[in-house]
Symmetry: C2
Subunit: 355 residues, 2 copies
């Protein structure tokens, strides 16, 4: 009977579809973004480009995204049903509360987590939450991680790129990594626009966003965390990165070769000898989702290089709500066991789901 019921739930596909990088934002926070983006003193050009546009544009794409982010009820569920998504892993959208001063960020994170927790309680079979934090105040961020995991039942932590221009390889942020390892909770490193120290050549060509800037900045951020020795210090810590691993699996050979060559040459006195080559951390401390990349060649490449047990499905709702992309992923010509890992069982294991 159990097997028959399970088969029915998947409509004969043999797997549930769990989408692992889905976004929300309280409507009030989106208005706060717009206000901040328009303040003359705001010196985060990536934030201004991103939220100065989305929170104000009348374009159909911007309106769909704004409505989709704010809704955790009937509309989202209807969209999931229409697309055949059984379950969403939901995080506060980028840049989360990481653009605000520390007290504001801390209090807005609590507020956002409470709103998401209400929605998860109302629809536990459809939603799982990630904890938003304000790394600006690492001690409070650790407290909120603990509350999110232990009290609210969230199953991951979301970090949206840099925090006010700082990357999280800085040792002052390592208490977050220590806590995540202790809580046995993965950290999703989601893109943000590149920080002001980097964005100009992207921005002046309109390439700062999801088209390219997001990816290379998130790749850089992940590499900084690896090269700082975070995983040598916290070997059980697990990160998740989207967009087919932000191309790091494709760069793997060159990363290993040139990291070793650079170390050997003593070019950077501060560069650390790691316990393993970079590829080791990609294969042992990092999960990958295909958010935004409904494309078998890249998905299959990640499965081959990193391992099918580390590659998960994501839609990137509401930023990329394309029903046909679900079909493209369903129709991938990969072994059926890899497809079930991709759509369902990896996510069940990583996020400790009981669906």
């Amino acid at each position: 009977m159990v097997n028959k019921e399970a088969a029915d739930r998947t409509n004969g596909r043999g797997y549930l579809r769990i989408a692992t990088e889905e976004a929300f934002a309280p409507a009030s926070l989106l208005q706060t973004y717009l206000k901040l983006a328009n303040e003359p003193g705001c010196d985060d050009p990536g934030f201004k480009s991103l939220w100065g546009f989305y929170a104000a544009s009348p374009s159909a794409r911007a309106q769909f995204i704004m409505n989709g982010l704010a809704d955790l009820g009937a509309q989202r569920l209807a969209h999931m049903d229409a697309a055949g998504i059984d379950h969403q892993i939901i995080a506060l959208t980028s840049p989360g509360v990481q653009v605000f001063d520390a007290p504001t960020g801390t209090s807005l994170a609590i507020e956002a987590n409470d709103i998401l927790a209400d929605a998860v309680r109302a629809h536990p079979d459809r939603y799982t939450g990630m904890v938003a934090v304000a790394p600006q105040d690492p001690a409070s961020a650790v407290k909120e991680m603990e509350r999110g995991v232990r009290k609210l039942g969230f199953k991951a932590v979301i970090l949206n790129g840099h925090t006010r221009g700082e990357y999280h390889d800085d040792p002052k942020f390592w208490p977050l990594f220590e806590a995540a390892e202790a809580l046995d909770t993965p950290i999703y490193l989601h893109p943000n626009a590149p920080p002001k120290q980097m964005i100009e050549p992207f921005l002046e060509a309109g390439l700062d966003g999801a088209v390219y800037g997001f990816g290379v900045d998130t790749g850089l951020h992940m590499l900084r965390i690896i090269c700082a020795g975070v995983f040598d210090r916290f070997p059980k810590l697990q990160f998740i990165i989207g967009h087919a691993g932000e191309a790091l699996p494709f760069w793997l050979y060159r990363l290993d070769y040139m990291h070793a060559a650079t170390l050997k040459s003593n070019r950077y006195p501060f560069m650390k000898q790691l316990a393993h080559p970079i590829s080791h951390y990609l294969r042992n401390n990092i999960y990958i989702t295909n958010s935004g990349v409904a494309w078998q060649p890249a998905i299959e490449f990640c499965q081959k290089i990193i391992g099918p047990e580390r590659v998960m499905y994501a839609m990137d709702y509401p930023y990329q709500y394309v029903l046909d992309e679900v079909r493209l992923c369903d129709e991938m010509t990969i072994p059926s066991e890899h497809k079930k890992q991709f759509f369902q069982t990896n996510a069940e294991r990583v996020f400790k789901l009981a669906l």
Copy 2:
């Protein structure tokens, strides 16, 4: 008899090995680099990081590179023989003359091209040259391209990343593209360190060089040229990019999706509607080499996505002189006709070689 001779020349492999992204630099230019990198007024942190290190370091890697760059004679030929490289396509190393003021750059380009031309004349069966130019003075650069191709017999033009902080999508550089198309000569877009507007988050982690910064900056540069409409204006123009296409083939799905979505949303008033999706230009205007990436998964991915007729072998001598990497490429389990295209016939066609 012709077939037997050809077979003998390849030692029964069935293909010659033509390495297409190999570097040289006059010893005097390397000293000029060091002098410039140490000038207090030099405000190019990437250049200071790169040549302030290589031109002065006693490390074995730096010394090997310095000696290898300056030699166009017996040592280089012996290294080619030891590695089994039949022919090198040689370019002035990065950043070429693109860091100097316009008159200095123009005169140093002529000097470097004359030195390379002498070596090519001495060893026409082993060397082919690329033309170095100073885009700081576009009109003189066009003249030097014409001299390089028509008088010196060079078969490509080398552009080493940004020119004094400027990317070459700026219309003031388009005369170079017009000339390259008219001369039917490909442009090799080779990495340089990211410009000062972008490099800081890379540099402070030691990730500005070949390990990551080179690749993402060259990818950005190529995308800027595509998105500016250069290939719509010069549809026959051909570029070459190394390092397995600087990961652009891996990003292909997302580039197409998000470029179209960004245009549709009117986020950037200056963003141009192109005649084709970005993937079209990757498949019709860009050749790829595997410099630095002696790794079948990435090479095969490029062949599958861009086409085996557009993927060529490169060693990246003297930066990555690893004999075992030649073996790795020889032993790739890909169709033998793709391997011959990769090592020999694509390069013969692209560089108009008669070996």
